[in-house]
Structure formats: structure tokens, C-alpha cells
């Protein structure tokens, strides 16, 4: 009996001890410990005055490019002047300073320009991660600078940067007099090297870039002659056109009566999705680029416009007023009206939904108070977040290829009769990085190239 009682007491004690739970709790996601990045002044060898200025300009381009990724890198403004950093980098010293990546260059004279040798090191591992030589002239310095910066960025992160990306946009700077003229332009991602692409003397709308960057599709208000009872009438129509960047030639993709606009390419480039209104109300159609063969993607009595599609083509987002107000929907574009799902339920007027490259998020603009602001929502309709506030009226957002940046237009009313609208760039979390256009008329519909 005594034995039983002892066992009983012991078991109780062991049981009580075993039930003393260990608490587990999640800390949550880490914040980014930004890499400290040094792009050192160039080691120069026997350079003339213009070559020295070219070299300094090149280093400035590289440093400026990396500022765009300031959410990832702390660009340390530190020069190792006179320390032969290219040939004999003092990595130990950099490590002690907490530097993670170090870029050095050796620039010498070359016919018509300079020869620039670049090296980058991971200071933590002591390994050389990038080495390349470039021949640079005055007329290609920005292009080459972005290429070098992209090479270094790839070596550091293993991903493509936006440094080689361009931005297509529409501007009304050609407007003189009453008739508005909006033409198509293209510029570097940082707002430099702006080039005019169209001279229609008309209104160009909603450009879209082919996946291989060889073509740009856009709509234009075109004039068509219509002969009726021996009378010739001029009819205005929104036609869809394609510009071949290589051949610098234009072709008409669709000129059906009504709207032919909001066109985008599929990721393969052989299909386009566009809004047509030749049947009365606006619907989204899929068109084969070569044959022009079409089929309905949406077929609803309400207006469906502004398609955007994921890279794998499995999900499309668009704007529709089928609920009474303009709201955002998603669907499987493989069959007409397949799996249509409304994902926005708030906002007085939503517009221009655009997928992020990974297809997880959609950025769009929504009217709030007295202007538009930009918002981001997950493709399944969750996680609605606001990106802009107290920054003018912000619209027409579009993601960069790496999904890290968003370009958008922002309008500021200066007086009752005057307003300016420019293109800005921010990171995906809404941190404004800068203004890309200035004194360039009112700018619209900015889109990154691929």
C-alpha cells in the first residue's frame, strides 16, 4: 500500500513538471540592414581635360543609379583618393568601416574617349565579384554608365536592375493653340535622354511595350474618310497602332468603329488584349498579333476596360462598372468571363489596375477627397494598402520589370487655369524617389520597358 502511495505521489510530480509548457512566440519579419556601398573615385592614367570630365561624369552616373535602390543600399560617400584602390584595394580597411561592397575603376585614354576598367568586391567575403572593361565616348556615356551599373547590381544581388529600362510616355508639350496634341516619347529610367517617337499631330493614348522591347503599341485619335451619298465625311476614331522601334515604322492593328485602346501584350508577345467598343459597349478582346483573329475575353452589358495580365497569362485584372461604379475585377482570360471576381469594394472611382511582375499585387488609382491616389491590393483582393498621400493627384501607375519601382503621373493645380502633370518614380512601398519630367508639358501614361 505504501509503495502504491509513493508511486502515486511521484507520478503526480512528474506529470506536473511535464505540463510546464515552453512558450513560443514569433518575432516577425526582419527589416533590411542596408548594404553599405562605396563607388570610389576613378584611378586616372594620363587623361586630358575632356577625358577627366568624362570619367567623373561616368562615376556620377553609377552613383546616381544606385541611389534609386536606396531601400537596399546605403551609398557611402567616401573616396579613397590616391590610395590605388583599383590595383591594391584595402579591403580590410573597408571591412572595419562596415562597408559591404566596394567598386573601383581604372580609367585610361582611348581613341575618341576613355577605356574604363571596373572591379567590384564583396568586402565581407573578400571576393572579386565583378570585373569588366568598357570603351566609352561622349555620345554613349549614359548608356554605358547604366550598363556598368546594371552589371555591378547583378553581381551583387543576382537580379536585373532597372538601369537599362526605359520609360515610354505621352506628353502634350507639342500643343499649340486650341487643338490638343499628345505624342509618344521615350526616356531613360532616370528621366534623361528623352526622344520623341510619333509625329501624328493628334492625340496618342495608353502605350504598351512588347516583351522584347521591339515594338510599342498605342492608340491614337485618327481621322477616317467616310463616303456617304457622294459626300465625304471625316470621322474621328480611336485606332490601335504599333510602332516598330527597330524599323521605325508604324502599322495599324485595329481600326474598328469606336474605341480600340488600352492594349497590352501577353508575355509571349503573340497575343494582345485590348478594349473594343464596336458592338456598342466596351468589352475586352484577345487578338492574335499576326492573323488579327479575335475572341471575347469579357462579354458583359457593362463596360469592361483597362486589362492587365500576369506573366503566365493565368490571371487578368480589369476595370468594370458592372457593379454600378468603376471597380477592379480579376478573371481567367482563357475563356470568356471565366472566374470573374470582384476584388475592390471601396473607392468612389477606381482606375488603371496594373499587375506587379510576379502577379501577386495590383496597383491602381482611386479617387479620394479631391484627387486620385495610388493603392496596392493583393491579386486575391486582400491587403489593400495606400501608397501616396498629400502629393497631388496621382494616377496611371506601372511597375518596373523587377517589381521594385512604380512610375506614375502626379498632377498639381497651380491656379484656376493652370496645372502641371509630371512623371514620378517611387519604390513599391510608396517612397517617392524623384521627379522624372519637368517643364515637359503635361505627361501621361508612363510605362516601363522590359
Amino acid at each position: 500500500m505504501k509503495l502504491i502511495l509513493i508511486m502515486f505521489v511521484l507520478l503526480f510530480q512528474v506529470n506536473a513538471f511535464a505540463q510546464m509548457a515552453v512558450a513560443e512566440i514569433a518575432v516577425g519579419e526582419a527589416s533590411v540592414d542596408k548594404d553599405k556601398f562605396v563607388i570610389d573615385d576613378a584611378e586616372m592614367e594620363s587623361l586630358g581635360g575632356d577625358q577627366k570630365s568624362l570619367s567623373n561624369e561616368l562615376i556620377d552616373i553609377l552613383r546616381n543609379d544606385f541611389v534609386f535602390y536606396k531601400h537596399k543600399f546605403n551609398n557611402v560617400d567616401y573616396s579613397d583618393k590616391g590610395q590605388a584602390s583599383y590595383s591594391k584595394p584595402n579591403l580590410t580597411k573597408w571591412k572595419e568601416s562596415g562597408i559591404t561592397y566596394f567598386v573601383a575603376s581604372h580609367i585610361s585614354s582611348s581613341s575618341g574617349g576613355i577605356k574604363a576598367e571596373f572591379k567590384a568586391w564583396s568586402v565581407l567575403t573578400g571576393k572579386e565579384i565583378f570585373t569588366q572593361t568598357f570603351k566609352i565616348q561622349r555620345n554613349n556615356i549614359r548608356h554605358m554608365g547604366h550598363q556598368i551599373a546594371d552589371g555591378i547590381y547583378r553581381a551583387v544581388s543576382g537580379k536585373t536592375s532597372i538601369f537599362n529600362s526605359k520609360i515610354v510616355f505621352v506628353s502634350d508639350r507639342g500643343t499649340h493653340g486650341k487643338g490638343t496634341v499628345k505624342e509618344l516619347y521615350i526616356m531613360d529610367f532616370d528621366g534623361n535622354r528623352v526622344e520623341k517617337l510619333t509625329h501624328f499631330n493628334s492625340v496618342v493614348l495608353s502605350p504598351s511595350v512588347a516583351p522584347d522591347n521591339s515594338k510599342i503599341m498605342f492608340s491614337v485619335i485618327a481621322s477616317h474618310k467616310e463616303v456617304s451619298r457622294n459626300k465625304v465625311r471625316i470621322i474621328k476614331n480611336i485606332d490601335l497602332k504599333m510602332y516598330d522601334l527597330k524599323n521605325k515604322s508604324f502599322s495599324t492593328i485595329s481600326d474598328k468603329p469606336g474605341i480600340n485602346s488600352g492594349a497590352i501584350f501577353s508575355s509571349s508577345g503573340d497575343l494582345i488584349y485590348l478594349t473594343l467598343s464596336f458592338k456598342g459597349n466596351a468589352d475586352i478582346y484577345e487578338m492574335q498579333v499576326g492573323s488579327g483573329k479575335m475572341r471575347n475575353v469579357t462579354s458583359h452589358y457593362a463596360d469592361d476596360v483597362d486589362p492587365s495580365i500576369t506573366q503566365d497569362g493565368s490571371l487578368m485584372t480589369f476595370l468594370s462598372n458592372r457593379a454600378g461604379r468603376a471597380h477592379i475585377y480579376t478573371m481567367d482570360p482563357s475563356h470568356p468571363d471565366k472566374g470573374v471576381k470582384r476584388i475592390s469594394f471601396v473607392g468612389q472611382f477606381n482606375s488603371a489596375p496594373r499587375f506587379s511582375p510576379d502577379g501577386k499585387d495590383i496597383v491602381f488609382s482611386s479617387w479620394i477627397d479631391s484627387g486620385f491616389d495610388l493603392y496596392r491590393i493583393a491579386a486575391d483582393g486582400n491587403n489593400l494598402v495606400r501608397l501616396t498621400k498629400d502629393f497631388g493627384s496621382n494616377e496611371e501607375a506601372s511597375y518596373s520589370l523587377d517589381g521594385e519601382f512604380i512610375v506614375f503621373t502626379s498632377k498639381r493645380v497651380l491656379s484656376r487655369s493652370k496645372a502641371v502633370q509630371d512623371i514620378y518614380i517611387m519604390n513599391r512601398d510608396g517612397e517617392i524617389l524623384g521627379q522624372l519630367t519637368q517643364d515637359f508639358g503635361s505627361c501621361y501614361s508612363a510605362k516601363f520597358t522590359n
Partner: protein, 265 residues
């Protein structure tokens, strides 16, 4: 006759002894079984304390991501475990403050609080007049305020209504309240270089605290496979130390059993 009576008494005594022994055996078997199960399944003997973030969207968000991050990044200065005697007052005060904290956790205590779900908020809202006559004015008022805030402002971080476990024990409640404060204090120091971000790496570290809140020992329970990641997680803990001084009632548990911190989730 006499012999029959003796047999009955003997039978009754033997029956009672047999019943007692059987009951004892069943009890011993039950305790032994549960003990063995507890010891064998030590992994299940983990009290998971979850932090909750609830975002209610009934209008377009007023705050930008940047503003929300600034709100979330405000660390809790000091752990304030719930005290039994001042329970109602503390509850009212906390809810009336309407402060948005990322890791707010509503702890259910049987018989003292009811589940603070959205439906309950609606119910409170609709029964405002009836409830106002009860002695819970502050609580009702704050519930209404919560609902008003949800309806008017939308998409904001609310206190959350996720409930984890049955916290019937005051000591457990104090322990949980203390543990909930730790993630925010560690997260301030929890940083990774870009190359370790978005790699889906995870690790678990057990920490043991002294009575003054200092980290006396850390154990890497589960590695991420990346030394740098594990080291950064441990550094975050060390940098956050000392933590607020725990109540005397929970200090032994923090020192002996420790707490497992999961990086990131």
C-alpha cells in the same frame, strides 16, 4: 443464520476493497498514461503565443504604408502584466486609449471577458441603451468607439480579436502578457542584409531570462541552415537585452523553461 450474516459482511468488505483497488488502478493508469504522453510528445508541450494583427477594410485606407510602419515601429517601453485586482480598470483604460499596436493580443479569461469578435461589437453597439445601465460603462463605451472607428476610418490596425488558448490562470496570463512584449523589443534589432531577405529562412532560439530581465542563455533550437541568419537572430536578442523586469511570479518560468523566439514566424 449467523453463518449467513458473516458471509454477507465478508462479501461487502471484499467488494469495497476490490472497488477501491480498481479505482486506484484506473487513476494510476490515467496519470501514468498522460505523463508518458507528455514526456514523449515534448514537441506538443509548447504553448504557442500568437500575436494578432487585424486590418478591417470598410473604406479606402487613410494611412500610407510609410505611416503604418511608423506606427508599428513604436516599441513598447515596458511590460505591464495584467493584475487581477485591477483587471476591469486596466481593460477599460487600454481599450479607451485606442492605440494601434502590431502585436496586440486579446486574452480570453473565462467568466470575466467575452470574446471580442466583430459580431460582439455589433451586438454591443445595438444594445447600447440596455448595457449602459450596467456597471461596465467604460467597457461598453470603448466597444462602441472601436466600432465607430472601424466604420469611419476603415483599413487601420485594430486591436485584433484572435484568441489563443484558455488563460484561466492569473500566472499564465501574466506570463503571456510579458511574453507578448518581447517580439516588438527584439524586432527593432532584427535586421538582415538584402541577400538574406526573402529566402524563406527560419530559425528558433530559446532564451532564458534572469529575474532582472537580462538574457542569461540562448539556445539555437532550430537552425535556418545559414549561419549568418542564425547569428543575426541571436544578435537581435542580445541587442534587445535587458528586457523589462518580469513579475516575481513569472520569473522562475522565464529562467527555467525559457521562451522560444521564432524568426520570423
Amino acid at each position: 443464520m449467523f453463518s449467513a450474516t458473516m458471509t454477507d459482511q465478508k462479501f461487502t468488505r471484499n467488494f469495497m476493497i476490490s472497488l477501491g483497488v480498481h479505482l486506484l488502478l484506473v487513476l494510476v493508469a490515467y496519470i501514468a498514461g498522460s505523463t508518458i504522453l507528455n514526456v514523449l510528445s515534448s514537441n506538443n508541450n509548447v504553448e504557442i503565443i500568437r500575436s494578432s494583427i487585424r486590418v478591417d477594410v470598410v473604406g479606402m485606407p487613410k494611412f500610407t504604408i510609410k505611416e503604418l510602419k511608423e506606427i508599428q515601429d513604436e516599441p513598447i517601453a515596458k511590460a505591464e502584466p495584467e493584475v487581477q485586482g485591477a483587471k476591469l480598470e486596466t481593460t477599460v483604460k487600454d481599450e479607451a486609449q485606442d492605440v494601434i499596436k502590431k502585436d496586440d493580443l486579446v486574452i480570453q479569461e473565462k467568466g470575466t471577458k467575452k470574446k471580442s469578435s466583430f459580431m460582439n461589437l455589433i451586438t454591443d453597439y445595438s444594445s447600447k441603451k440596455v448595457s449602459a445601465s450596467e456597471n461596465k460603462k467604460g467597457q461598453i463605451k470603448s466597444s462602441n468607439k472601436n466600432l465607430d472607428s472601424l466604420i469611419i476610418e476603415g483599413n487601420r490596425l485594430s486591436k485584433g480579436s484572435a484568441l489563443v488558448g484558455d488563460y484561466t490562470n492569473e500566472q499564465t496570463s501574466e506570463f503571456s502578457a510579458y511574453v507578448q512584449t518581447l517580439p516588438e523589443l527584439v524586432r527593432v534589432h532584427w535586421k538582415l542584409p538584402t541577400y538574406l531577405m526573402n529566402q524563406n529562412l527560419k530559425c528558433k532560439i530559446a532564451i532564458y531570462l534572469s529575474a532582472s530581465g537580462e538574457v542569461v542563455k540562448t539556445d539555437l533550437i532550430e537552425t535556418s541552415g545559414q549561419n549568418e541568419f542564425d547569428a543575426r537572430a541571436e544578435k537581435a536578442i542580445r541587442d534587445a537585452s535587458p528586457f523589462p523586469k518580469p513579475e516575481a511570479s513569472v520569473a522562475p518560468r522565464l529562467a527555467n523553461s525559457g521562451i522560444i523566439l521564432k524568426f520570423p514566424l
